[in-house]
């Protein structure tokens, strides 16, 4: 903690000449924008190819790269002190914990005795879909 002068009454605007925040060159912003647009095209292209269940994961990876670019450069996160980093990442960790909690529960609920009924139920729903589709 740098020592701030203690007198509470002085230290108004006119006394301050320091630099506020970090200045990022124009070219960097432009490069990031172009990268973002390219990645949008990539994500659309990736969606046409059918990776099966992996589609969602691929889409999320690309989206996360774009999000990282926006956060670090556009939002100056790269030049912030560690506390801001902590509170930028904390919600992502909590979201991961919530998802982990949900996905340790729902997929493991099948009760062996009732697998037959569950399968039958899913088949019925599929039939309804095909008629609609």
């Amino acid at each position: 903690m740098s020592a701030h002068h203690h007198d509470s009454h002085s230290g108004h605007g006119e006394g301050f000449h320091g630099e506020l925040g970090h200045v990022v060159p124009y070219k960097t912003y432009l490069a990031i924008l172009i990268w973002l647009l390219i990645l949008t095209v990539v994500t659309v292209a990736a969606a046409q190819v059918d990776f099966g269940a992996m589609n969602a994961v691929v889409a999320m990876i690309i989206a996360s790269i774009k999000a990282l670019l926006v956060a670090t450069i556009f939002m100056h996160l790269k030049f912030e002190n560690p506390v801001t980093w902590l509170y930028a990442l904390f919600p992502i960790v909590l979201l991961a914990i919530l998802l982990a909690g949900l996905f340790i529960d729902n997929p493991f609920r099948t009760d062996p005795q009732h697998a037959t009924e569950a399968a039958q139920h899913a088949a019925n729903r599929l039939a309804v879909i095909l008629r609609i589709g």
Binding site: H4, G11, H12, G13, E14, F16, H17, G18, E19, L20, G21, V23, V24, Y26, Y29, L30, L33, L36, L37, T40, T43, V44, A46, A47, A53, N55, A56, A59, M60, I62, A63, K66, A67, V70, A71, I73, F74, M75, E80, N81, T84, Y87, A88, F90, P91, I92, L94, L95, L98, L99, L102, F103, N106, P107, R125, L126, V128, I129, I132, G133
Partner: protein, 224 residues
């Protein structure tokens, strides 16, 4: 000597006189405060993403099928609009850091314009869906949305779709209001490289809105 609640009088380019903080602390505090608020927004949308992830896993085929109803070209266009608006929001902060209030106003206006385009495109998309009977309370060739016969995973996909895009659109409107407030101050030449917190805070909020859409677009339109 507590101030009046709203600081009306100010000196162009000079940070306001905050009685218990000096200028760099006030700037850092404002940014940390906004980052914390963005953390709560991420968690607010996080709850929706968790629900979506769960039902995407539970009904993969139905969700994929229902997402075919959405026009991904409009979604892609909206994504680009928001990315460009995010670019100009970042430039407005850069302009403020170079004491150029006129550029700040221009860039903010471009950002607000992009936001408006986004909302208009979203409005037409929603009304389009409603006419196909995919909006709660309506009926179309798929049958009435709220009737039991209506295929329930369609209802769930579109229920989630409207919740997510609706909440996101609300945040776009809030973001535009903040940026408009900052643009108005910039028009009066309020900012300089010693004081531009409103622009910085407004831009941070706008980037978050763009960030959320970056995740919404593939989840809803492409993967389904």
């Amino acid at each position: 000597m507590s101030h009046g609640l709203f600081r009306t009088e100010w000196v162009a380019g000079e940070p306001p006189d905050i009685h218990h903080m000096d200028v760099p602390t006030a700037y850092d505090a404002a940014k940390l405060g906004m980052w914390l608020f963005l953390a709560t927004e991420i968690l607010l949308f996080g709850g929706l993403f968790a629900a979506y992830a769960l039902f995407h896993w539970a009904y993969p085929t139905e969700f994929h099928h229902a997402s075919k109803e959405l026009n991904w070209k409009i979604g892609a266009f909206n994504t680009c609009v928001l990315l460009i608006s995010s670019f100009y929001a970042a430039l407005s902060v850069d302009a403020a850091q170079h004491n150029n209030n006129k550029k700040v106003v221009r860039y903010l206006l471009i950002t607000l314009g992009c936001g408006l385009i986004f909302l208009v495109v979203k409005y037409f998309e929603w009304t389009g869906k409603a006419s196909h009977g995919l909006f709660p309370g309506t009926s179309g060739e798929h049958g009435a949305f709220n009737s039991p016969e209506f295929n329930h995973s369609y209802r769930m996909f579109f229920g989630l779709y409207y919740c997510m895009t609706g909440l996101h659109a609300l945040h776009v409107i809030i973001g535009m209001a903040i940026l408009a407030w900052a643009a108005n101050l910039a028009r009066k030449g309020r900012f300089s490289k010693r004081y531009y917190t409103p622009v910085e805070v407004g831009a941070l909020y706008w980037h978050l809105v763009d960030l959320i859409w970056i995740y919404l677009f593939p989840l809803l339109y492409l993967v389904g």
